[in-house]
């Protein structure tokens, strides 16, 4: 069992409401769900869609083939009709679209008039549509009732009743009129699942890492992090400050970190460009910071609400001067959660900037998981505070140590002073000009720390055949689609996926000789959501390994299952 539902229409018509509600129903019923969204950079109008795939087995990418299309406007039909199969259906309301379709796969359902009749107003038509879809699938409405009660508990009994009556009307209508619907729903025996998207996972991961300060300037696709953390601020004691620009955002976070709390900022490529000076400041002053960098298609403003993986090289190489940095590129919300925790830990342990590189696709896609293992979270306080700091005989913020890591004191906790400088400085943190100190400082801050940081970086994840003839390689948000491709092709082929979620410093081959694996494969393909193959280039620069085959997609949309399979087959 594996079905896809697409809800299409203009912004503001309620696509999100229908999509969110259906997704929640499936996930609470114990099904595995994957959703992805496509929207334009506008508040009203345009064409947008919300796509839901659900199954009794884990799903982690979208299919092209749609089983039910909920068309809230004519464009949805024009644009997505070709995604339908013979057994698929389009549901629409002819009174709203001002058109009737004769094709038997088109079901004209009076959402609006039913909403007025049973729900007391047009506003309920989305609830009618939700009930209709559940009716077509042959699912009961009990979970929807719970969700309606939760969602509208503050709005009162009348609103709850109107919603439930509307859903029932849609459901009944579908059961009666959709005689040919042949959806084969396996009733799920499983527990309800965690339903989470990439953005929420960053937010949850940061509050689970002891983040106390978040400053940012709103920018898609990172804004959701600020929304999530602000919503948890009171409960967790986190200050969220909306900065006047990204330059201020990163400098505020650095100030908070200097003062002794874990701090974070988030942005997208254009905002990160403004933060670059601050990134370098973090490197020089050895002030820990976590930066969530959400990629979207550029250059410049590009496609503000769409997806691309074209800021890897930017993240790796940007900023003046030489200093260590750590870059994570998680592939699923679960990886996002654990790697956010690792980013906070490593940033503070090594007193360096750590970047969580994600993209719009990962940000907005919802995944289901059976559970998260909270024992995998790490929390160590590496700062020198309170009595430990007070009782210290002497203190120098940038003291030369064998590891290169100097004591990170909390200013004010001791008579000892905490001094740092964006200029080159001595062990105390005061400005200097001499060559000897410069050499020692570069060794301390960069050359000594770098190998230690690299030790903590995990090698790529191998999925599929242990000695594969074909290796699909990728990083970040292509995890799901690549894994599904391996699953689909492994029946008659020796194939595996190599996925990198910790990309810089580039993982060594000590724990797992992935270069050997690639060398022994007959065909290796690097799959990336960008035009030039940035990861392939980074890999070549760091390891000397060169991918002969690449699959690149740069239309601002994520890979879809069918197209990727056919592109892989073309290479075989």
């Amino acid at each position: 069992m594996d079905y896809s539902i697409k809800i299409g229409g203009e912004a503001g018509q309620g696509i999100q409401t229908i999509g969110d509600t259906l997704t929640k129903v499936f996930s609470r019923a114990g099904y595995y769900v994957f959703t992805h969204q496509d929207y334009e950079s506008r508040i009203r109008g345009g064409h947008n869609f919300f796509q839901i795939r659900f199954s009794d087995k884990p799903v982690m990418a979208s299919r092209k083939k749609i089983d039910i299309l909920v068309a809230l406007d004519k464009d949805s039909i024009l644009l997505h009709e070709k995604e339908l199969s013979e057994n698929s259906f389009i549901i629409y309301d002819s009174s709203k679209l001002k058109q009737r379709y004769e094709d038997p796969r088109f079901l004209d359902i009076p959402f609006v008039s039913m909403a007025i009749e049973y729900g007391g107003g047009k506003i309920m038509s989305n609830t009618v549509a939700t009930g209709t879809v559940l009716g077509m699938l042959g699912m009961k409405l009990d979970i929807l009732h719970e969700i309606v009660k939760d969602t509208f508990k503050r709005k009162g009994e009348d609103i709850i009743k109107a919603n439930i009556n509307s859903a029932v009307a849609g459901h009944n209508f579908a059961v009666k009129s959709c005689m040919k619907c042949s959806f084969d729903i396996i009733s799920s025996q499983q527990q309800s699942k965690i339903l989470i998207n990439g953005i929420e996972a960053i937010g949850l991961g940061s509050i689970a890492s002891g983040c106390k300060f978040y400053s940012a300037y709103p920018m898609t696709p990172s804004t959701g992090i600020m929304n999530y953390i602000a919503g948890k601020g009171k409960e967790y004691g986190i200050i969220v400050e909306q900065a006047e620009d990204e330059i201020a955002a990163i400098n505020m976070a650095l100030g908070a970190s200097f003062a002794g709390v874990r701090a974070m900022t988030g942005t997208s490529g254009g905002g990160f460009a403004l933060m670059v000076e601050g990134l370098s400041l973090s490197g020089m002053t050895e002030t820990p910071i976590v930066i969530a960098l959400g990629q979207r298609p550029g250059p410049a403003t590009g496609f503000p609400t769409r997806t691309e993986q074209a800021e890897l090289q930017f993240a790796v190489y940007t900023a003046h001067g030489e200093f260590p940095r750590i870059i994570f590129a998680p592939g699923t919300p679960e990886q996002v959660f654990y790697l956010t925790s690792k980013a906070f830990d490593m940033a503070e342990k090594y007193q360096v900037p750590a970047i969580i590189l994600f993209d719009q696709y990962l940000a907005d896609s919802e995944w289901t998981f059976d559970s998260f293992n909270l024992k995998k979270l790490v929390y160590n306080d590496y700062r020198l505070r309170g009595e430990n700091f007070r009782n210290l005989k002497e203190y120098r913020r940038h003291e030369f140590t064998p590891s290169g890591i100097s004591p990170l004191g909390v200013p004010g906790d001791s008579q000892h002073l905490v001094v740092t400088d964006s200029d080159e400085h001595d062990e105390e943190g005061h400005i200097v000009e001499d060559a000897d100190t410069r050499i020692k400082m570069v060794q301390k801050r960069l050359l000594k720390k770098l190998p230690l940081i690299r030790e903590d970086i995990e090698p790529p994840f191998l999925f599929g055949d242990a000695k594969p003839e074909i290796v699909l390689t990728g990083w970040g948000s292509t995890y799901g689609i690549m894994k599904e491709a391996v699953d689909a092709l492994s029946g008659n082929k020796s194939i595996a996926m190599l996925h990198f979620s910790e990309v810089f410093p580039f993982p060594s081959i000590k724990k797992f000789d992935y270069l050997n694996l690639l060398d022994n494969a007959k065909l290796t393909v690097c799959i990336e959501n960008n035009a030039t193959g940035q990861f392939a280039r980074l890999m070549r620069a760091e390891t000397g390994y060169e991918f002969k085959n690449k699959i690149n997609k740069y239309d601002g949309r994520p890979f879809l299952f069918e197209e990727l399979i056919s592109q892989i087959n073309n290479k075989i």
Binding site: L204, E244, A263, L281, G412, H416
Partner: protein
């Protein structure tokens, strides 16, 4: 009680006769008289000759980037509002590169003390016009004279309803010390624009030039009156007022954040096991 000796730092690398010496002296005297220990104070400075001041003192220091003193200071104050946080910048640093941050720091009304060493010229980069250079000032980069109108930081601050606005002069260290103490005593964002001769590059606004013009604001002047403050702020030319120009008692940002009502953020304990409950919201 702290002594002057506690604040002794590196030997300044400023030009002999630099206006910054007067500021350094007045600042040290003010904090010592106030009884502030070096570890209770953090200075955030930028880049320029002013930015070097914390190295010539002894206190917690974040000498950051050009123009970015106020965001860093804001982060420090929000994380620890028991710390006295002072931002030090030059006119180029604060009014040029960091102009946007100044506007928003004033709006936030975070309790930071901002001391601007205003010498009406770029010193460290050797003599270009700054936002406060007088119109027509000829420099290597402005051979036809500076075209842009001189920025009036005092009027700007009053227009933004800044909580504390003052001007002083580094050639009058007693006055300056008093103003620094008043700024520290005041609860709210405080800006002190300190007129400070650059003896090497500014041949117009010299000690002599300032001395002939500055006058102490009359004792009967009421800085709580915003309209009067505007009038005072507009005075520049033959007579330049020094003293407290505007003051109001707006609530400070730190007091409006309920999370830090009882203790500073940096003192909060961390309990990551709380996330177990939060995770339930995703089922």
């Amino acid at each position: 009680m702290p002594a002057l000796e506690d604040y002794k730092g590196q030997t300044p690398a400023w030009c002999p006769g630099c206006g910054n010496f007067g500021i350094l002296k007045a600042f040290k005297d003010a904090v010592v008289e106030f009884g502030i220990e070096p570890h209770q104070l953090t200075i955030v400075s930028g880049i320029g000759q002013a930015g070097k001041i914390p190295h010539y003192l002894r206190c917690n220091t974040f000498n950051g980037l050009h123009g970015r003193t106020l965001p860093v200071a804001t982060g420090i104050r929000l994380a620890n509002h028991e710390m006295l946080v002072v931002a030090v910048a030059g006119d180029g640093d604060c009014y040029g590169e960091g102009g946007n941050h100044l506007i928003h720091a004033i709006r936030r009304n975070i309790n930071i003390k901002l001391f601007v060493h205003d010498n009406q010229i770029y010193g460290l980069t050797k003599g270009q016009a700054s936002p406060t250079s007088m119109e027509g000032m000829v420099t290597k980069n402005q051979p036809f004279g500076a075209f842009s109108e001189q920025l009036n930081p005092i009027a700007l601050a009053v227009a933004l309803d800044c909580s504390f606005v003052a001007r002083s002069f580094s050639g009058d260290t007693e006055h300056l010390k008093g103003i620094i103490k008043e700024a520290i005593r005041h609860k709210g964002f405080s800006i002190v624009d300190i007129l400070q001769p650059c003896v090497t590059f500014n041949k117009i606004n010299t000690y002599e030039w300032y001395k002939q013009r500055v006058y102490h604001i009359e004792s009967e002047y009421e800085p709580e009156n915003r309209i009067e403050a505007f009038k005072k702020a507009m005075e520049w030319g033959d007579r330049i007022p020094i003293g407290i120009i505007y003051r109001n008692q707006r609530a400070i940002l730190e007091e409006r954040i309920p999370i830090i009502k009882d203790s500073p953020l940096v003192k909060h304990a961390i309990d990551i096991s709380m996330v177990e409950e939060t995770l339930k919201e995703f089922y």
